[in-house]
């Protein structure tokens, strides 16, 4: 089973905080992997907020292909960061030859391009790159987006932290939003792509649970958008549904909950907006989830939220102090990094609500 956690902070924080958040929850996972996504970056990436960053783990051959492709597309590299690694035979980790975070300038012909055109370019470039690397087993590309870096690795989270020196609070990597998950996806094959958090065009999700409507979700999503690919994990479906509801349909976030876990027909009948709710339930019944789940998500504007299944079978706690909000599977993780908070203000998300944290760390509980 996965354990998930996310931290949203007013000040820049280091991934070691995410490692601490997850370490105390290790009884709930199997120490088979660690992955994180950092958004709203500080440290060495703070000056490149408007430029896309490519995060990937590749072979030398893969690296060369990636550079050629980006060059041909017109991207110009302005900064590259290769994290220093600390190999040690005692570490339980399956490494790749190169871990790369590269910042690029958009192609010149995109100088006057719209936001949407740029977003499409980033997506299509990543998909092309992924397709090549996958075909030739030359590596993994996790994200190509502005102000976002991501890393997914197979192994013991503690050891992964040591390998990348993530435990020391050195200044290079910092962000205001960090989402992290421990455990590889052992239901299916061990693949790096199967590890949460999942990311698409500014949207991030990570999920603890089992999506028993995986087949329905997948068959539907495959036809909805070219970016809905992979499906190495049943939890990717949550990301694609979020992307579809919020970005493609442009519906307010609260309707994500109505799509994932629609109200019962009897309950809808009592609502003023029952016509809308019934339409949503009918049209998007294939995107409904069933089974135990909790999902933490981050929107492109930095909003962080949590929704859980309609039977409250998977818990999440939301904890807060003045500077930091933590959402995570188990409260012991939050105790680790927010020991002095007022625990009476902890929120255990209910089955019929959406808990939303804005950029000022105000928490809103929206009833479904």
């Amino acid at each position: 089973m996965c354990r998930i956690g996310s931290i949203k902070s007013k000040r820049y924080i280091h991934p070691s905080l995410a490692l601490k958040l997850m370490r105390s929850q290790q009884k709930g996972h199997d120490n088979s992997g660690f992955a994180f996504i950092m958004q709203d970056l500080g440290g060495i990436f703070e000056n490149y907020k408007d430029l896309p960053i490519l995060s990937m783990a590749v072979t030398d051959e893969g690296m060369k292909y990636a550079e050629d492709l980006l060059h041909q597309t017109g991207f110009v590299r302005v900064f590259q960061y290769n994290p220093e690694v600390y190999p040690d035979s005692s570490l339980k980790i399956e490494t790749m030859p190169n871990y790369v975070f590269e910042v690029f300038q958009y192609p010149k012909n995109y100088k006057n391009a719209s936001r949407e055109e740029k977003e499409n370019l980033l997506l299509d470039t990543r998909l092309k790159l992924r397709s090549y690397l996958e075909k030739n087993e030359e590596g993994f590309v996790y994200s190509f987006w502005e102000d976002v870096i991501s890393l997914k690795e197979i192994g013991n989270p503690n050891d992964i932290g040591k390998y990348f020196n993530l435990w020391s609070e050195e200044v290079n990597l910092k962000a205001k939003i960090i989402t992290a998950q421990c455990r590889q996806n052992t239901n299916y094959d061990i693949v790096r792509y199967a590890a949460h958090p999942f990311f698409l065009q500014g949207y991030t999700t990570l999920t603890n649970g089992e999506n028993t409507f995986y087949e329905k979700n997948k068959l539907m999503q495959q036809k909805l958008h070219r970016g809905y690919i992979g499906f190495e994990s049943d939890s990717q479906c949550f990301l694609y549904t979020l992307h579809y509801v919020h970005k493609i349909l442009k519906w307010p976030l609260k309707y994500y909950k109505h799509v994932l876990t629609p109200l019962s027909f009897d309950e809808m009948e009592k609502r003023d907006n029952k016509n809308v709710l019934e339409r949503i339930k009918a049209s998007l019944s294939n995107l409904e989830i069933n089974g135990p789940n909790t999902t933490i998500g981050v929107l492109p504007d930095g909003t962080m939220f949590n929704v859980i299944d309609s039977k409250k079978l998977r818990p999440t706690v939301v904890c807060k102090d003045d500077d930091i909000v933590v959402m995570t599977s188990e409260v012991c993780g939050a105790n680790e990094i927010l020991p002095d908070r007022d625990i009476t203000k902890d929120i255990y998300t209910n089955e019929r609500e959406l808990v939303v944290v804005d950029n000022d760390l105000n928490i809103q509980r929206i009833s479904q």
Partner: protein
């Protein structure tokens, strides 16, 4: 010496042989009175015993002659025993019973004697292959990876859609103060939520008014009291005025078939309707006799039926086709559009076809309907029952429902339109008595719901089965009052009791459906969730694209 007439039908040609024990018989006559087919009669048996008694003078002849009243089987091409077993039921002493004649020669003799096609009711009686649904198991049980739900304590939402569902990007909502709202003049197709099991279309005419009434009462009770939103399709031939103008019309799906019987009355009642019907079902074909129209023998076309349908006393033969429909597109334009218009686009209009090799083409075309007015696709497989059909159709035409449902569902998936025209599947659903299991499996394979017909009759007391027993629905002589218009036979049916049995059966099925949903961890219908199923037959598994297990 009696002449042996080998060309006549004899007792051992008949499909059922009556075994009678005169020693046990107390001559009450109940069996003869109860036999609606006239297949047994009271007769006299001549008994003669001749004894030679020896005495001192030699011997003496003692002749004992008796005429004993007995029950005899009628040997006739039309009034033959159907094996319904009513005689056995009414006999107080167990003096009479029926046995299936395994020679199966009767059909041959019947055709040779009468030059008629064999007709009957019921389902296909040929069992050439095992039942597909019984080879499929619900095999994906939530264990450790996720918890099973609790069928008794958790809530479940057992409803499905009837009506055209549009894709989300066509919903065209507007956002007002952070809320989605329907645009005022937006005309989205009507969509309703109903129970995934439907009472199939059996007409007043095919059924006795009492049987039809019992289903209607059960439907109303299940909706109003049990809150199970089940719907009843009326069958061709219209329904009583009183019901058309009552609030219960909202539970009825009105059928229009190629004979258009009963629609004059429906149209005339429209200004007086309090409620819209639950739907309109355009019947193109049925699984029991695909490519053939409805058939109501004159024997069953009694005064009440003549009034409801607006017809004279005669055999009522609905044509195989809707006259004037020559293509799928045309059917959409003409029938769907006119039916939608008639009810101001407030009532889902669906179509029922017999499963066929062409079903996917039909469904694909309907899915592309640009007007969004096709509200449901009903496919009826070859195990469906009927009130009257030629046996050749029942046994030798048609297409099994399971793979056809799957093909249609996957065709919709291929178009990215699964669920947009809900598929309802029928034809042998629940024929082994396990309605919940069949329904659940069909739903996982892609059905939005199922429809049942013959099973309801069996719940009501139908004594027929799929092994040649009874199946006399076409004769108008139904021994239990279900498919007859004979006032005396109808009296055998207790309307309230039948309604109660139907309600009980559906309530039990509702519990059983939850007992299948809970272990796979679902609280809503897993339409298309084929990963919940496994199959013990490799060929079936491969054909249906589900996991083979052994």
């Amino acid at each position: 010496m009696t002449t042996v007439n080998i060309n006549s039908i004899s007792k051992d040609d008949l499909p059922w042989i009556i075994e009678y024990d005169s020693e046990k018989c107390m001559l009450c006559g109940h069996c003869v009175a109860a036999c609606s087919f006239g297949a047994i009669k009271v007769d006299v048996q001549k008994r003669k015993k001749v004894r030679a008694i020896s005495n001192e003078e030699g011997f003496q002849i003692d002749e004992d002659q008796k005429a004993i009243p007995v029950i005899r089987q009628v040997i006739d091409a039309h009034n033959f025993c159907r094996g319904c077993g009513i005689c056995t039921k009414v006999c107080p002493n167990g003096a009479i019973k029926v046995t299936r004649n395994r020679t199966e020669i009767f059909g041959t003799r019947f055709r040779a004697k009468t030059s008629e096609s064999v007709k009957r009711g019921g389902r296909s009686n040929l069992h050439t292959e095992g039942r597909t649904l019984d080879k499929i198991k619900v095999g994906r049980i939530s264990q450790m990876t996720d918890p099973s739900l609790d069928a008794l304590r958790h809530t479940f939402d057992l409803r499905t859609n009837l009506g055209r569902v549009v894709s989300a990007d066509n919903l065209d909502f507007e956002i007002v103060n952070g809320e989605l709202q329907e645009k005022p003049n937006e005309d989205l197709p009507v969509n309703t939520s109903i129970y995934p099991i439907m009472f199939s279309d059996m007409s007043i005419g095919a059924l006795s008014p009492r049987m039809w009434e019992a289903i209607a009462i059960a439907t109303a009770y299940l909706n109003e009291v049990k809150h199970i939103p089940i719907r009843m399709a009326t069958g061709e031939g219209g329904i009583p005025d009183k019901l058309l103008r009552s609030k219960y019309l909202k539970y009825m799906i009105l059928q229009i078939a190629s004979g258009h019987f009963g629609w004059n009355r429906i149209i005339n009642s429209m200004p007086y309707m309090q409620e819209n019907p639950a739907g309109i079902l355009i019947k193109i074909g049925q699984g029991a006799k695909p490519g053939d129209g409805g058939l109501l023998m004159a024997e069953k076309n009694v005064k009440l039926i003549q009034e409801i349908r607006g017809v004279p006393k005669a055999d009522l033969l609905s044509p195989p086709n809707h006259q004037g429909l020559y293509s799928i597109e045309e059917s959409v334009q003409k029938m769907f559009l006119s039916m939608n218009c008639a009810f101001r686009f407030k009532v889902p209009v669906a179509i029922k076809v017999a499963a066929s090799s062409t079903s996917v083409s039909v469904y694909n075309n309907l899915l592309r309907d640009p007007y969004n007015i096709v509200g449901g696709f009903f496919i009826d497989g070859l195990q469906g029952g009927t009130g009257a059909a030629h046996e050749i159709s029942l046994n030798h035409t048609g297409h099994p429902i399971v793979s056809k449902l799957r093909d249609c569902y996957l065709a919709a998936v291929h178009q990215g339109k699964q669920g947009q025209i809900p598929i309802f599947a029928g034809g042998g659903i629940g024929m082994n008595g396990n309605l919940a299991a069949d329904t659940f499996k069909m739903i996982c394979l892609g059905a939005s719901g199922v429809f049942i017909g013959k099973l309801i009759l069996q719940i009501a007391g139908c004594v027929g089965n799929d092994f040649g027993k009874c199946n006399g629905c076409n004769t108008g002589k139904c021994p239990v009052g279900i498919t007859t218009q004979n006032p005396k036979l109808m009296q055998r049916l207790d309307v309230d009791r039948v309604a109660e049995n139907i309600v009980n059966y559906i309530c039990a099925t509702d519990i059983e459906l939850k007992k299948l949903l809970a272990p796979v961890g679902n609280s809503t219908l897993p339409i298309g969730r084929s990963d919940a199923l496994v199959c013990v037959d490799k060929n079936v598994a491969e054909r249906l694209n589900i996991q083979y297990v052994c």
